[in-house]
């Protein structure tokens, strides 16, 4: 140690060692925690795929339930796969139809931090936090009010309500990333805000819009609580908006506790299909946003 330094400022070696030891211990603990998070994802995916991939056979995917299906006789889960895709596609279109104009209003006609814009964003955050079972209950009350039965239409509307805040907030974030200079440039050329929004902002934000839509689609695809009372369940492929519709999450939920192993196998198969779809959507949205951002102006 340097002698010219006042004694009180020289860290005692024991003290320093203790601080270093605390640092090391802390680093070990937080690494374990981070490892635990990684491990839990691997554990979940491994459990699901290990259990369900062996149950996944082509005959299950391309057939609808036959007679005696719930006693373990033949049939497949095509009704649930088709139903889930129909319902979620419809719901996403409805949600997009509402959120896109709303987000254009937020970003092109209001200042970023104006009280009105902040209030609308806050309402969206509140809606995001509402559990999907509450949306399910609300959807059911609407159904009762309009004398509708559990149907594709009712399920679609309920899932659209679940997706609306997710989609709007994601679109809002995306559009917010568009450089202000681009808008200023078009304004200076005399374009109206509407022209700028449609021809410049939305086009520039397109990859992000796609990613946000895919994310909302994935969320809608997996939601069981919202469709529990509203979509019903059917063994056939739905052909009209007013018929009940089968969905993958409910196919898993209803069949998992069946006493018949063959029926349980189908729950596993449905879980495999659902998990793979969600993984594909997640991969696709990553890939798409990378592909489209090549042509983006930064």
């Amino acid at each position: 140690m340097n002698n010219s330094c006042p004694a009180s400022l020289i860290p005692k070696t024991g003290h320093l060692r203790r601080r270093r030891r605390a640092e090391l211990l802390f680093k070990i603990i937080i690494s374990i925690c981070a490892g635990l998070v990684l491990f839990s994802l691997i554990l979940i995916l491994a459990t699901i795929l290990f259990k369900s991939l062996p149950a996944l056979r082509l005959s299950l995917i391309i057939r609808t339930p036959g007679s005696g299906y719930y006693l373990g006789h033949e049939g497949g889960i095509l009704n649930a796969i088709a139903g889930s895709l129909q319902l979620t596609l419809g719901a996403t279109v409805v949600a997009l139809f509402i959120s896109l104009p709303a987000v254009v209003f937020l970003n092109s006609y209001l200042r970023r931090h104006s009280p009105l814009a902040e209030a609308i964003r806050f309402v969206l955050d509140v809606l995001w936090g509402i559990p999907s079972i509450v949306y399910g209950a609300f959807g059911f009350l609407i159904m009762l009010a309009f004398h509708l039965r559990a149907s594709l239409l009712a399920g679609m509307i309920t899932v659209a309500m679940v997706e609306l805040p997710i989609l709007s907030r994601a679109l809002d974030e995306t559009i917010n990333m568009v450089p202000a200079e681009l808008k200023e440039a078009t304004y200076s050329l005399g374009a109206s805000r509407w022209q700028t929004a449609i021809k410049v902002v939305l086009r520039q934000a397109f990859p992000g819009l796609l990613t946000a839509t895919l994310m909302a689609f994935g969320r809608g695809l997996g939601d069981a609580a919202a469709v529990l009372f509203t979509a019903g369940y059917t063994d056939r492929i739905t052909t009209s908006l007013f018929q009940p519709v089968a969905t993958l999450p409910l196919a898993i939920f209803f069949q998992l506790n069946s006493p018949y192993p063959e029926v349980q196998q189908r729950a596993y198969a449905a879980a495999a299909v659902l998990t793979i779809l969600i993984l594909l959507i997640s991969l696709a949205s990553r890939g798409l946003s990378r592909k489209f951002s090549q042509h983006k102006i930064h």
Binding site: I30, I48, P101, A102, G129, L221, L228
Partner: protein, 298 residues
């Protein structure tokens, strides 16, 4: 940009998109009014105190004590909270302060994937892996064996489900701490642990609270995954190994087939209303903390 000085061309698009932007608010108000409109007759039918403090749930005999369900919700949510918060916060510290950037890049998709997995998949994982594990744990520690469908099983499943929320929010807040502050502490000879303790955690406290509240809100309303592993016995749980029956599970099991018993429909709507009001409360608290943190970092 503001609504003042709108050009003639922009008037109609502004009005139309504004209508869409007010739909979320309309939806929130409609949900609240619909549920309270259905639940309020109940409050005149039964006094509030029997509702909240009676533990007898016998819809057939007109007894609608919601206490077992409220207690079940609280047990399950708190268990999940205490399992998820330490792991979540410590891994956030690792990710934002210690992890090499390569590892951070791996973690983002992992968290997105965990957040995107449907709750029915989490539920199935719980049934296949967590419930048997809890059964074994109970046999080892208490010596008594039961089904394993319990508060603890639900808490573990929920904890994994809310980890992405907690980690994403707190990592974002922690990485917004100005680098200069950390550098100043480091230059005074602080170890990284001391930087975390005296600079990062101190500066980020409101943000971390927001992350916890958002996680809590998510756990509070989660339905299907909990329903699948919690046992659904309408009694007040006595230990972590007891089964429980949280409010969302009550709704999921009964809302779709509300019997024509007087008060039953209203009791279920009141349960939904309780969920809605508490979740909105959580949103308000989280918002308050987030506004505080964004002011702090300007």
């Amino acid at each position: 940009m503001s609504l003042k000085n709108l050009s003639q061309k922009d008037l109609w698009p502004a009005l139309v998109t504004a209508l869409f932007a007010f739909l979320p608010l309309l939806l929130a108000v409609a949900i609240f009014l619909a549920l309270s409109g259905k639940a309020l007759p109940f409050i005149s039918f039964k006094s509030l105190s029997t509702l909240f403090f009676s533990s007898t749930w016998q819809p057939g005999r007109g007894n609608f004590g919601l206490l077992p369900f409220i207690a079940g919700t609280i047990w399950v949510t708190i268990t999940a909270f205490f399992l998820a918060v330490p792991v979540g916060l410590l891994s956030s510290i690792y990710l934002s302060e210690y992890a090499p950037s390569g590892l951070q890049k791996i973690f983002r998709p992992v968290l997105d994937l965990l957040a995107g997995l449907p709750s029915v998949i989490y539920g199935m994982w719980g049934v296949l892996l967590v419930v048997p594990a809890v059964r074994k744990l109970q046999a080892l520690t208490v010596g008594r064996e039961s089904s394993g469908y319990s508060v603890l099983a639900a808490g573990i499943v929920l904890a994994v489900m809310i980890l992405p929320t907690i980690i994403n929010v707190s990592v974002e807040v922690m990485s917004s701490v100005p680098l200069e502050l950390k550098e100043a502490a480091l230059s005074l000879g602080a170890t990284r642990l001391e930087v975390v303790r005296y600079v990062v955690l101190k500066k980020c406290f409101p943000g971390i609270m927001a992350a916890c509240v958002l996680g809590l809100a998510r756990a509070f309303g989660e339905t299907i995954a909990v329903l699948m592993v919690v046992g659904n016995v309408p009694e007040i749980p006595r230990s972590l190994f007891s089964p429980a029956y949280p409010l969302p599970a009550l709704l999921a099991n009964n809302y779709g087939e509300m019997m024509s018993i007087p008060g039953y429909e209203a009791a279920l709507n009141l349960a939904a209303l309780i969920l809605l009001v508490i979740v909105i409360g959580f949103s308000l608290i989280a918002r308050w903390y987030l506004v505080k943190i964004s002011r702090r970092f300007g």
